[in-house]
Assembly symmetry: C2
Homo-oligomer: 227 residues x 2
């Protein structure tokens, strides 16, 4: 048994959450949480999640079914009748990939699990530089959530949300991942496909731009037609 403290990482299987897990693993034993909220590429995400769990030698795993987010709707990620945009809009509007209150729902599940298993930290790979400007990814939001956790958990429980990537851009995140020897080839970011990444959805574009800035080739497979 390790005497290190335990942290729960919200691990989608994407680049950011994978690097976040590696950062958390420097100081904590890991418990890994995946939320299935009806997102289109969940099968491929789960494959990445499971392969990463093996890589991190993690035995505390929870794959939670939150597909009521699909019933709630309101997002192109969970509603097959809405198109995933080619790129994020430049307007003031939130992109259609926004899932209402998603991070609050995911973090609430993660905090409940952390309380039960005695973890003292929750890690999430949110960042505000290179992602869409979602309201539930900003530092003020996480500060407010930490206050809610302090008031809403069992007395004597001290769980804090950590967002180590919040001020990093995608190239910095990739550099940090390389430094921590993260298996970037196991991660998956595409919003659209499950076999080869599409290369043109907002998530693929941000990822490819990051690798281009670092000057290395992204190790995952892309649909060559779109590159």
């Amino acid at each position: 048994m390790s005497d290190r403290k335990l942290a729960v990482v919200l691990l989608s299987g994407g680049l950011d959450s994978c690097v976040t897990a590696a950062v958390a693993g420097q100081d904590y034993d890991l418990a890994l949480f995946h939320g299935n909220y009806g997102q289109r590429t969940v099968r491929r995400e789960l494959q990445a999640f499971r392969e990463l769990a093996v890589f991190f030698r993690c035995r505390h795993l929870l794959e939670a079914n939150l597909d009521y987010l699909g019933a709630i709707g309101g997002s192109s990620l969970t509603d097959a009748s809405l198109a995933i945009p080619q790129t994020d809009t430049e307007s003031e509007e939130l992109p259609s990939t926004y899932v209402p209150f998603r991070n609050t729902i995911l973090i609430a599940a993660v905090v409940a699990w952390a309380e039960v298993i005695g973890a003292s930290a929750v890690f999430i790979g949110a960042n505000i530089i290179d992602g869409p400007d979602y309201p539930d990814c900003r530092p003020d939001y996480f500060n407010a959530y930490n206050r809610l956790i302090e008031l809403g958990t069992r007395p004597g429980t001290h769980i804090r949300i950590h967002t180590p990537l919040i001020h990093l851009d995608k190239a910095d995140i990739i550099r940090l991942g390389l430094k921590l020897q993260v298996p970037l080839e196991l991660t998956w970011s595409c919003y659209r496909n499950e076999d080869r990444a599409c290369g043109c959805c907002p998530s693929c574009r941000i990822r490819l731009k990051g690798f281009a800035e670092v000057g290395i080739k992204d190790p995952i497979l892309y649909d060559e037609e779109n590159l």
Copy 2:
């Protein structure tokens, strides 16, 4: 079409949430949300929820499956291997019926739905007088949650949590229900049984004490042996 504003009510099918729905219905059109989180008596709760939805003539209904709370565990309400206590403990400890971070999870789902359907209020029947002293039922907690909603929802969205029963005791809640002509006979509070209420779990005891104080008979069926 009504031009009244829309509110989502977290309706378990119990006495408190039913009276809360009636209070909300004075000022708002109602959308009713039930969360199945693997609680033992969910079948009976859902019956109450559906009968109350008919009573309130409500067409916005969402029954969400949150049974990952059962996988997370940590509560006698969701883990059949833990016994429901006969009465709440008098100690400083939280009772075993406490479900870690339950209200945060339920409210997060309700707020997401409110955002999608354009509701401006969320109602929950929490109260601090006659219930167990759960951390996620106190006014400070709801104030912190309102701050999180303000920061974490789509810009231009204004959703507030309302807790009209928070300072009422069970007898006051029953009196308010009678005044608003709420069908108390359709509500269900028991933690243990699904046919006749057990009459001896903490939830039944608080309910029966409330009816005794008001001086009327509780209209639901009880297991006579335990009364």
